[in-house]
Symmetry: C2
Subunit: 354 residues, 2 copies
């Protein structure tokens, strides 16, 4: 079993990566401190993996909360639903919340864990590629608000992350590809060798080669863990992980959460950031082309919705969490494997790529 | 100007205590990092102190949120209202939230600050005795849920606490007395000398002697700061500060938030805890009498509502955040100035004092 550690002093935790982790030999139980557990999952994941998880927890007193699938469910209403459920079932501060699902389930459950009785333990069992390589690692938890994505949340680290590669076999192709946007992101923003590795192995990835997928996920988790260990609360280098997200969040918010998948919006956002970089003379045309080629290989969109105007983008981008003193802050690639934070991009420059 | 520090490494912060702190010489501005500020207050405090605070912030871009007065307002609905307001006004992660009011405003605003864009700075300006001696210090933030008090919240420290003693002049007597319950609590649970000081100075306190009040508040803040510095997340000694709160929260939840003031419920809860201690042979009858005498001097209730049954108490106490493995955990005084955590009190023993 592969594993790595997110090194955050007393908040450090392991990430386990293996095919078949949702089995009786799971390391899960070593991270649960009392007999009370509450699983949060959704109506797509529950029929696939809930019984496996419940079998592992056979000796525990387990409650289950099943919400609907989709980004629209990452809401304050569902947060409140979890609070009410746990209070009704008399969960104490020694209970453990388990997130079984993708990024929506992980972010929502993590935020619930951060706030229930001022904080209970939680464990991430991400079942989508996107949540395995990105959202389950690093302790960013949140719900969306109609006025902006992830606007209500907390930095709150899980006690452990369990990534069962087998869960990717049930993932729809569109969602797998959306996850690949975040995978490609790691290459563009900070690791040219990994970007080249992705180009070399893209067919095996698409074909679902389990050993290649494991290597790929392990690499992404390691890169994210290293970044988070340096800058847990995103006061510096962690912001680079937002490459493509400023444009992407605007697309998601404007189109309505769930119409574009998060990864799809990030893919387009990365292309926009790359085109902006080219426009600013920071990135070569051939690098932009390489980025677009790899993104397109995974059937991801490279252009924003035609219905979205420049004003639509600015409206949402003005509310981005990275902004300082009302100035839009963007992550811009300056080479494949290199990116930086820019505060001084003008509206006119942004307009060039919309 | 008196001041002390809550020592929590990188989360350390000062508490300033003085008459007239809400003036142009306030240390407030040194704790605000950008020009964006959002004040949260209520409709009773706003007419009294809002213009003073706004005068200090004359050079800043200030938004104001005014909610209704009362414990019932410490709700997820008002939390959501603050989130929506701040998003609508495009507040960024560099904004500062200021809580101007009592415990409800402080707890609600602190929780909003903890969660808005995963955390923004906040400053406490407590205007009631109860919030000055207790709730504004130590970083416990929360909102209530119909199923329990403070059930949704976070440990989130302010950047500074400003206590203007002058604000006590406008405080209704009933609320001042409710604050005295928390003051007396510090004496009972851990400081016999302070308890004796309160007995000696009770007339001056009731008369509003400003120098005595300042000494009293300073002492309570120092005791709380020392406790919090030892145990920020309440894994041990901080739980002692909950003396009287297990019974008290049950009264508040059962009667409906705001019917009994928090301090009134705590006063009765401390008497119940003392009577339970006597029943268990842990506390002398004369100590119980001294506790009751001091509590009664400040016109605080010493008996639970007649309408409340044993079952009503147990229902709420079973959901107490301190409980472990479903066992009710109580703080019991073992002398004036000494208390301890007990996990093994039976329902039958609790019933004796209800």
């Amino acid at each position: 079993m592969a594993s790595l550690t997110v090194a955050l002093a007393e908040r450090s935790y392991p990430i386990y990566i293996e095919a078949g982790l949702l089995s009786l030999n799971s390391p899960l139980l070593t991270h649960i401190k009392s007999k009370r557990v509450c699983i949060v999952t959704n109506d797509v994941v529950a029929p696939l993996y809930l019984s496996q998880l419940q079998a592992i927890l056979n000796d525990y007193k387990v409650d289950v909360i099943i919400i609907k699938d989709g980004e629209a469910e990452k809401s304050l209403a569902n947060f409140e639903k979890i609070m009410a459920h746990m209070l009704t079932k008399n969960h104490g501060r020694d209970s453990t919340l388990i997130a079984l699902g993708g990024g929506v389930i992980g972010d929502l459950t993590g935020f619930a864990a951060a706030c229930y009785q001022r904080g209970v333990d939680f464990i991430q069992i991400p079942t989508t590629l996107l949540s395995q390589v990105d959202s389950s690692v690093g302790g960013k938890t949140a719900v969306n608000h109609p006025l902006g994505k992830n606007m209500i949340g907390a930095f709150y680290q899980p006690k452990a992350v369990l990534i069962d590669i087998n869960s990717l076999t049930s993932l729809p192709v569109r969602e797998f590809n959306a996850g690949m946007a975040e995978v490609i992101k790691y290459g563009i923003l900070g690791d040219a060798v990994f970007f080249n590795w992705l180009e070399t192995n893209k067919q095996a990835i698409k074909a679902g080669d389990r050993e290649i997928l494991k290597q790929m996920i392990l690499h992404c988790c390691q890169q994210k863990a290293d970044t988070v260990a340096q800058d847990e609360k995103e006061s510096g280098v962690r912001a680079l992980l937002n490459l493509g997200h400023t444009f992407g969040h605007a697309i998601e918010a404007e189109m309505g959460y769930g119409v574009w998948l998060h990864g799809e919006a990030v893919a387009t956002g990365m292309v926009q950031a790359a085109q902006l970089a080219k426009h600013l003379g920071l990135l070569s045309a051939s690098d932009v082309e390489k980025i677009i080629t790899l993104i397109e290989y995974f059937d991801l969109p490279i252009k924003p919705p035609e219905s979205m105007t420049f004003a639509d983008f600015i409206k949402h981008m003005s509310r981005d969490k990275k902004n300082v003193d009302g100035q839009i802050r963007l992550i811009i690639p300056t080479a494949i494997g290199q990116s930086d934070i820019f505060d001084n991009i003008t509206f006119a420059q942004i307009q060039q790529v919309i």
